[in-house]
């Protein structure tokens, strides 16, 4: 979910090399894709012959996308991108699904890692294994795994979003709180804060977005989805998840965390009134928090996510990639643009300019570029990129997203909204699991659970 997240960047290490890669990719497509329409194969090649750029469309919800696209168009003669700004989250995905179903999909669009399998299962995105050049693949390194399903690459990753802890440094000092490394300490802090400043909460537990909780279950070692042979395994109620559920339910019931919707103006007000003094989210949140808690600029800091046993570990919340829709007949051009956004310094700098994005680029070489472009004064000049990088290295392996996450997040929406109003996390997990399993079955997939 994390529709607030948005993270595209652009890159442009050596545009002529990319060009060559693009051309090779186009050629290999000609020979490989027997299924592709003739338009698909001719567009890439002939456009380069005639000197007329290939026209592609790009849908994204990310900020600064207009500037990124302008930068790409200015520096590339072979491909011309037309941007369409969309909204993130379920509404945006609804639009993507509908447009692709109707044959009007964009060439390239933004998908988060959790939702990508849904588009793949839907047959809405193209296998771009052969279109992604080797230099991009090596630049993106392990991140390529995030967009590889069933041995095929379906999207170009842009960022990595380890879950971290944002907190008000000044207020932690004022109330004598210890920056928590364990969840026990976190609870002690929350309780101490409750006593010292009645009405204040350590963090808000968002009741419109289960993905933050998912990342904390992930951190605790949960595996909501897995595959066994040719079948999906679904379990939102494993020991690790239930442990995290009991922990957070306790904080909700004790009134130690607030339960606003993440988009609620009341949350923004509380962040500015020192009534909510922390936040759990991914690196992308850094840029959003900056625009939300304007009155406390310079007083925030970022720390790794606490854990149950004190050993550094985390999950991920959000993180997005660029996928080529099945409607596109310009696969090579779309992939060229996508890899440029993810691995070119120009692209990344343009994306981050003005502090529009604090996402941690998937390409490690881009981290310093992003860091240079991001104004970290809101965080008192803290080196948040290094911290996020270190956090990223502690993301627990073995987590898999399910095949119908757009549905699954929506299954969470109704019971999650009732948290703090009589609903329970375990109840929500139960009903979301039951619905997800029946949806997966209804789609004809094999499933156990």
């Amino acid at each position: 979910m994390t529709h607030r997240s948005a993270f595209p960047l652009p890159a442009g290490r050596t545009s002529h090399r990319l060009l060559a890669i693009g051309a090779c990719a186009a050629l290999s497509l000609v020979s490989l894709t027997a299924c592709g329409s003739s338009a698909a194969t001719t567009s890439g090649g002939s456009a380069q012959n005639s000197g007329k750029p290939v026209e592609i469309t790009f849908w994204t919800w990310t900020k600064n996308a207009d500037k990124v696209v302008a930068e790409f168009n200015k520096t590339h003669k072979d491909v011309h991108v037309t941007l369409s700004q969309t909204v993130g989250g379920p509404t945006g995905y609804a639009k993507d699904f509908a447009a692709i179903k109707a044959g009007n999909g964009p060439d390239l669009f933004n998908v988060e890692y959790s939702e990508l399998p849904n588009f793949v299962a839907q047959g809405d995105v193209q296998d771009i294994t052969s279109a992604v050049g080797s230099s991009a693949t090596s630049a993106l390194g392990n991140s390529m795994q995030l967009t590889t399903l069933g041995g095929k690459t379906w999207a170009v990753p842009f960022d990595i979003e380890p879950t971290v802890f944002y907190y008000r440094k000044d207020l932690f000092q004022k109330y004598n709180l210890t920056v928590p490394t364990t969840w026990d300490q976190f609870k002690t802090d929350a309780t101490a804060l409750q006593k010292a400043a009645p009405g204040a909460h350590l963090i808000n537990f968002p009741t419109d977005d289960a993905s933050v909780f998912a990342s904390m279950a992930w951190q605790a070692g949960a595996q909501w989805f897995g595959t066994s042979g040719n079948a999906w395994k679904v379990n939102f109620q494993d020991a690790a998840t239930l442990k995290a559920a009991a922990y957070w339910q306790g904080l909700i019931d004790g009134g130690q965390v607030s339960t606003y919707l993440s988009s609620s103006p009341a949350l923004t007000a509380d962040l500015n009134n020192s009534k909510v003094i922390g936040m759990i989210s991914g690196p992308f949140e850094g840029a959003y928090l900056k625009t939300m808690a304007t009155s406390s600029a310079g007083k925030w800091a970022v720390a790794p996510l606490p854990t149950f046993d004190g050993t550094p570990a985390t999950g991920a919340v959000g993180g997005s990639s660029y996928a080529v829709s099945k409607n596109s007949t310009h696969t090579a051009a779309a992939v060229e643009f996508a890899t440029w956004m993810s691995t070119n310094a120009d692209a990344v700098a343009t994306r981050v300019a003005g502090g529009a994005s604090s996402a941690l680029p998937a390409d490690p070489a881009m981290d310093t570029v992003a860091q240079k472009a991001f104004d970290a004064s809101f965080y008192g000049g803290q080196d948040i990129y290094t911290l996020n990088q270190q956090a990223a290295a502690t993301i627990k392996t073995g987590w898999t997203w399910g095949p119908l996450m757009v549905s699954t997040w929506s299954d969470f929406a109704d019971p999650w909204a009732k948290l703090g109003k009589g609903g329970t996390i375990t109840g929500a997990l139960q009903s979301a699991q039951a619905q997800t399993v029946s949806q997966i079955k209804a789609a004809g997939l094999n499933v156990q659970g």
Binding site: K95, K101, Q122, G150, T207, W232, P265, A417, K418, G444
Partner: protein, 318 residues
């Protein structure tokens, strides 16, 4: 409002034509075909074709295999989707929700718009034009915009209304069904009341003035005239507006969709049948289900129209 004047016009029309013989009639027919052609063309393209496509879609299910990372196959499932949708309690609950909504909304809407129309029509009314226009204005605002505006007015911390309520000691929590549903009713009434007032007012204006004068001479009060003469005379428009209102309620979509963003604990993702269909199509990519749900909804609307028409027919004869 045009709906009211049209029947009268068509009723009168045949009287003009009959004198002419066969030839003029065929010419009339040609003209009718020519004039009606564009309508039927658009009707076919914009209404019949989508209904046909929905019917077609509703008979199929998409099937994947294994882990689902291969191509999907489309399987004919007959009435399978219809049965599944009917079996889904979330879909059925949607009808319960709109029924509850209707219980609050329909009487308020009909009563409110009748009362306002009667006030406007009464001899005592001043500045009629101004009030007509003012009342009608909200209808000109697109529903989605209206919902957004109201959403702000309902949001604590932003809304002046909520802060006045709160400073007066009233709590305003959209998380409570006793607040969220009436709030939704309020948006719907605000949007449509003025339109219905115009319909009723036009009908009231069509009542022969001599009848009203007779009542006046007989010493009937304004209230008595309204109750015993005006209301019975506009029964057919009341029936018509009732029909539109009921169908409108069944098709509730954009207001609850937006409201869901601030009151998700009450207005769930499948709160009305249309929201259910929307979620099926665009969140679950289950187009067959969504089509079946939509067709079933259309059938219910059709039955309801039939029912309301039957109910209001005796009035029309009166």
């Amino acid at each position: 409002m045009a709906l009211l004047t049209k029947p009268a016009a068509t009723r009168r029309a045949p009287h003009r034509a009959p004198a002419a013989g066969g030839r003029p009639r065929s010419r009339t027919r040609g003209a009718a075909a020519l004039l009606l052609g564009p309508f039927f063309l658009l009707f076919a393209a914009a209404t019949l074709a989508p209904i046909g496509y929905a019917l077609w879609l509703s008979l199929f299910q998409e099937h994947h295999s294994g882990l689902g990372f291969g191509p999907a196959t489309t399987v004919f499932s007959g009435i399978g989707n219809y049965l599944d949708v009917l079996k889904d309690s979330a879909y059925r609950d949607g009808f319960v929700h709109v029924a509850l909504f209707a219980v609050i909304y329909v009487p308020l809407m009909l009563g409110g718009s009748l009362a306002v129309a009667l006030l406007l029509d009464s001899a005592l009314a001043r500045a009629k034009r101004f009030f007509q226009l003012t009342l009608f204005l909200p209808h000109v605002v697109p529903g989605i915009i209206a919902a957004i505006v109201w959403l702000y007015l309902y949001t604590p911390g932003v809304s002046p209304i909520v802060s006045v309520l709160q400073s007066g000691g009233f709590s305003f929590d959209l998380g409570s069904p006793f607040v969220a549903v009436p709030s939704l009713v309020n948006v719907a009434i605000w949007e449509v009341l003025g339109y219905n007032v115009v319909v009723f007012y036009a009908a009231l204006q069509a009542i022969p003035r001599e009848v009203l004068e007779a009542a006046l001479i007989d010493g009937a009060s304004e209230l008595r005239t309204s109750w015993s003469i005006k209301l019975p005379s506009i029964r057919s428009s009341v029936g018509l507006v009732g029909l539109f209102t009921a169908i409108g309620v069944l098709q509730l979509f954009q207001e609850p969709l937006l409201m869901q963003q601030t009151a998700p604990a009450v207005i769930t993702t499948t709160w009305t049948p249309n929201l259910y269909n929307y979620a099926q199509a665009f969140k679950d990519s289950n187009y067959g289900y969504a089509a079946a749900g939509s067709i079933l909804l259309a059938v219910v609307c059709g039955l309801l129209s039939f029912g309301v028409t039957r109910l209001s027919n005796p009035w029309r004869r009166a």
